[in-house]
Amino acid sequence: MVSLGNFIEVLSGGLLAGVLYSLVALGFVLIFKASGVFNFAQGAMVLLAGLALVRSLDFFVAKGIPFAVAVACALLFASLVMAMTAWIVERFMLGPLVNQDGLILFMSTIGATFIIEGAAQLIFGSDVYPLKLYPTDAWFALEGVFPGGILVNKLDVWGGLIAGILVTVLAIFFQHTKTGRALRAVADDHAAAQSVGIPISWIWFVVWLVAGLVALAAATVWGTKLGVQFSITFLALKALPVLIIGGLTSVPGAIVGGLIVGAGEKLAEAYLGPLIGGGIEYWFAFVLALAVLLVRPQGVFGERIIERI
């Protein structure tokens, strides 16, 4: 059972599955980095983005529009929905709470979760909607080297590709642009940011817009994998250990955290499972996160906590 080919297959499957967790975790990191708020509503935003995408796609296809054009239109529509959500969140929730404590903002995102979940299903429906944007068939790599080859899911490869592009773009955006700097500035100190003329409401709109678009990217992949349905919001729970391991403030950390969780849980299932009983996949990530919390509370890639006393 323990052959090299088998090991590589489990590992690569785990790594690629991990990237999909990273996609969800990325949305959390963005908002936390930029506004110092832990956004409980990120899972709900993935659901909203997915529903807006799949329902408008079905609508356009039913109209007889060619599939590729319909996908483009649906993506545009879903982006607009996320932009509108960002605007509403800023206008009615965060705007009135400027200069408030992080905990208060966190509580307000819990409220937003229920409103977004409810509104999304009210408007777009609450069934399971299949989405097929990426090929989902298996692909056997390196057949010449290992007998039977290594089984890779094509969808997972797409997920990895999308995550890679997102991370590169976001990293540059955060480090080297006016808005990126302003985002970090707002996260550090509202009053100081205002004093140099950073428009906080615009910044918050941008943050939630970007998080919304990342949620949309996650929704395309997860929607294809599971179908767009309510249970997609529970992805947020799977993203938590990813965040703790990678660090709440690090974009690359979200990716590496995802890889560690994905590979860890698949390997544990395959090699520890037979010894201590199956089902490890469901809790392994949380145990891993706990261990990281004990050793390095800011996460592997998190910013060092600087405090002068």
């Binding site: 006016k178 550090d188 100081a192 004093s195 140099v196 003329g197 910013e303 002068r308």
Partner: protein, 272 residues
């Protein structure tokens, strides 16, 4: 309540040196039952260094917060560049050329010195979000231009060595200097300094005084300054406003203020 008279002559835009740049008239501010400022009027003339002094709790910082819009006074009018208004907003204040530093340094702690000062350039950069998202075109070009301006400020404040250091790690004196740099990066017309020398040693105070004088003389920046070190205040400022218990008790040149009996009483106490 006294009726508020609008003394602005409707003239806006450029203000000649020596003319009134900002005036607060009959401003009162209270938090619940606490009256932080009671009917205070004074002005700041273009090009001067204006000190606001007074014992702890006199309402000095509240006054700065009113001027740049963090607090909204219940009564009174603020006239800035000939335009009268009941309340400022921090963002509007910044766009109109009012910059400030804070009593307890308010820097972006996780960011480097360079990024902190670059953040001060936000209003001067006008590239589109799209250009920034692809990091191409105007965004890239402006990054370079503004980086040059920021380097000049860094040279001026002699903080070249800490360019890349996260400011949270810097000693207090240097943090104050970076904060001044960030305010300067906005190219302010009116610079509000809230205790720029608090917690500094003699040498650091001398450096900071030198920067303040240079900024005032070379750039022509008008300044309002809160400071407890009387030696510094008397040396630096053109005119001094003295607050006690939220009221203006004296206003004039350093000599006048020094010899004012009310000021002496406020600082030394009077036998009752």
């Amino acid at each position: 309540m006294r009726a508020v008279v609008d003394k602005s002559n409707g003239k806006s835009g450029t203000i000649a040196p020596g003319e009134v740049l900002l005036a607060v008239e009959h401003v009162a501010l209270s938090f619940g039952g606490v009256k932080a400022i009671r009917d205070v009027s004074f002005d700041i003339r273009k090009g001067e260094i204006r000190a606001i002094i007074g014992p702890n709790g006199a309402g000095k910082t509240s006054m700065l917060n009113v001027i740049n819009g963090f607090y909204h006074p219940q009564t009174g009018v603020i006239t800035y560049k000939g335009e009268a208004r009941q309340r400022m907003r921090p963002y509007i204040a910044a766009t109109q050329g009012i910059a400030r530093t804070f009593q307890n340094v308010a820097l972006f702690k996780g960011m480097s010195t360079l990024d902190n000062i670059m953040a001060g350039r936000t209003l001067k950069m006008n590239n589109s979000l799209l250009s920034q998202a692809v990091y191409w075109g105007s965004a890239l070009k402006q990054e370079k231009e503004h980086r040059e301006v920021v380097e000049k400020i860094i040279d001026f404040l002699e903080i070249q060595a800490i360019r890349k250091t996260p400011v949270g790690k810097l000693p207090y004196g240097l943090q104050k200097r970076v904060e001044l740099g960030r305010a300067l990066a906005t190219e302010p017309e009116l610079l509000l300094l809230d205790e720029p020398m608090a917690g500094m040693n003699l040498e650091e105070k001398q450096d900071m005084s030198r920067f303040i004088i240079d900024i005032n003389q070379q750039l022509g920046t008008t300044m309002a300054l809160i400071e407890h070190d009387m030696g510094v205040v008397m040396d630096l400022s053109d005119r001094i406003a003295v607050l006690e218990y939220g009221q203006l008790i004296a206003d004039g040149t350093p000599d006048e203020v020094q010899n004012n009996q009310k000021v002496i009483d406020a600082y030394l106490g009077v036998p009752r």
